[in-house]
Amino acid sequence: MNKNLKEKLIFSLFGAVTALVVLVTVAILVFIIFRGIGQISWDFISKAPENGMMEGGIFPAIMGTLLLITGSCVLAFPIGVLSGIFMNEYAHENAFKRIVTMMTSNLAGIPSIVFGLFGLALFVNFFKMGVSLMAGCCTLAILVLPVIIRTTEEALKQIDDTYRFSGYALGTSKFKTVFGIILPMAMPNIITGLILSIGRVAGETAPIIFTVAAYYLSEISFSLQSPVMALPYHLYVMATSGIDLEKSRSIAFGTALILMSIVLIMNLLVGGVKRFYSK
């Protein structure tokens, strides 16, 4: 019975470690929610920062982040979904496809600060966009591109080949088969991937510091040529600012909670989309 005793011991140890890890990670969530919830009020989400950013709300930062999400998704979704379709439906199994696959996964692994450098060099300096919404959207679009390609590809891969062959057997062209049969079937999974990539865009800080983020703006500008405030950068600024720790910390907690709720809402949406389509 010795080996079964050992098994029991090790299994309970593993269980304890798992419980600990889950507890610690959940503690982060709970901590931010707990400390941030007191800060949230209508004024906090609808007013501009006041009094050297130590009072008032974070409305410009929320708007800035929403603008960045919209802009980068408009740029990245079409290219990403089309590349995903290419990878799974059109590319042949050859060296070229292997290279593209390798490059896509490498693009996904590039640290976000490198995108910041690239965005600064290419969009801000080379294309002379300056520190602007346009430059920030382009940088973030490149950052989420591999995520979108990967999810589209995975979603298409799950569709059984019999559907493709049935399409061909009925005499439809490849184009019609892909866009009329395969793509609609894969849609729920593609959409969930897109929603998750929105969460990713919302939270990225390093790529936007040098391409778009403004330290403080009192008004919201919708121009593509001007910088905007953004939630993650605002959180960074408030968290590391040394002036009046108590006030800046409470604003930071509020900002962190708003930022995190965007990610949480996206995750809930994913669950909603899955349930809607499975009906």
Binding site: F14, V100, L107, F175, Y233, L235, M260
Partner: protein, 392 residues
């Protein structure tokens, strides 16, 4: 009918173009990083437009940036320390001009300035002069400074890219800082992550597994700046109090935080790998009288080993490239790390903290792009290795 076909062909060619887009993009990123940084290697680490001059009898004709910094800061006080005659060093620059010469000597329009500077340099054997090039007579003996090279950067131990007159571009402490923090993070995250993955894949029931997996996926989506903020508020003071340190912003704080950040990656990928072990193999092992524990360690883990290795390497990559969290909790001191209780500075944090201040095209700016290129090469290799293992 034909119009329809043209439309289809058109959209299909757009699809082909998009397919190649990412490949071009990655190549573009590489080219741009190196293009922006490569200007550095044609430059000298001395501030642009400035030159260094010495007395004609001085045997020293070449100095390294580190030696120049030593002289300016008073660490090197005699020419014999840098291979010259036994003669103490006087530094001489623009701010000394007024105290050394009268207004009359210099002339109303400073028309005699060059002359006077040359005179002073030639009459003092130990002088070390640092002036804008236009004030130095061409007859003076100028000190040569080696051009910046990649190997001098990689070997250099000091990082003061804005130091005057000679920028110190040693990236060794920064690279070691990154490796050190990542190493600590992996030491913490790997055993924990593997245990959780094994527990989820083999031990606990499906319901619990689904709940925990969705929580972990949720955590993977939390922005790193939120993690960084959490680290700043909780981990930093905790580390400081527990180990009784003067500051809590240490390599240890960074490692703990990075471990938390890379745990979701390691857990969910290794769980997938372990779950992919065919049930037949496990049943066969159980039928031979092995218990569940033995089956896990002798059958499932060896079967999943390449997937687990690939997951761990991707976790390393995630930790190595993490920016905001380490910027906020590691203290950012550019010194070669010697323990976990000291501040360190990583590649990512250096770029994030300094790029805003560096003027486009300056030595500092280009040096940061070279750092970015180094970071890129590191992560590129990490990804290639991970890919190699995942296809094995």
């Amino acid at each position: 009918m034909t119009f329809q076909k043209v439309k289809e062909k058109l959209i299909e060619s757009i699809i082909y173009c998009s397919g190649t887009f990412t490949t071009l993009l990655v190549i573009f990123i590489i080219v741009f990083l190196f293009k922006e940084g490569s200007g550095l290697f044609n430059k000298k680490p001395v501030e642009e437009g400035y030159a260094l001059a010495v007395n004609r009898f001085n045997r020293v004709s070449k100095l390294t940036p580190a030696q120049i910094k030593g002289i300016i800061e008073g660490d090197i006080t005699n020419w014999s320390q840098v291979g010259g005659n036994y003669d103490s060093i006087y530094t001489f620059n623009l701010s000394d001009v007024e105290s050394k010469f009268t207004q009359e000597e210099l002339g109303d329009e400073f028309e005699h300035l060059n002359e006077k500077i040359a005179e002073y340099i030639e009459s003092n054997t130990g002088v070390f002069a640092f002036f804008p090039e236009k004030y130095l007579d061409s007859s003076l003996t100028q000190i040569e400074v080696d051009k910046i090279t990649l190997s001098s950067m990689l070997k250099g131990k000091e990082w003061y890219p804005t130091a005057n007159p000679a920028a110190q571009l040693g990236v060794l402490p920064i690279i070691l800082g990154s490796l050190w923090v990542t190493f600590g993070a992996i030491l913490l995250a790997l055993p924990l992550g593997l245990i959780v993955a094994i527990y989820l894949a083999e031990i606990c029931g499906d319901n619990l597994k689904n709940i925990i997996k969705s929580v972990i996926e949720l955590l993977a989506g939390i922005p790193s700046v939120v993690y960084g903020f959490f680290g700043l508020v909780i981990i930093v003071p905790l580390v400081q109090q527990t180990f009784n340190l003067p500051v809590g912003e240490t390599a240890l704080s960074g490692s703990i935080l990075l471990a938390l950040i890379s745990l979701p990656t390691i857990i969910s990928l290794s769980e997938d790998a372990i779950s992919s072990t065919p049930q037949d193999l496990k049943n066969a092992s159980l039928a031979l009288g092995a218990n569940k524990l033995q089956t896990i360690f002798r059958v499932s883990l060896p079967y999943a080993s390449s997937g687990i290795i690939s997951a761990s390497i991707l976790g390393v990559g995630r930790a190595f490239g993490e920016t905001m969290a380490v910027l906020m909790v590691t203290g950012n001191a550019a010194i070669i790390p010697s323990g976990f209780f000291e501040p360190v500075r990583t590649i990512t944090a250096t770029i994030a903290a300094e790029l805003g201040e560096a003027a486009s095209g300056s030595i500092h700016y280009e040096a940061l792009f070279i750092l970015g290129a180094i970071l890129f090469v590191f992560t590129f290799c990490i990804n290639l290795i991970a890919e190699f293992f995942s296809h094995k």
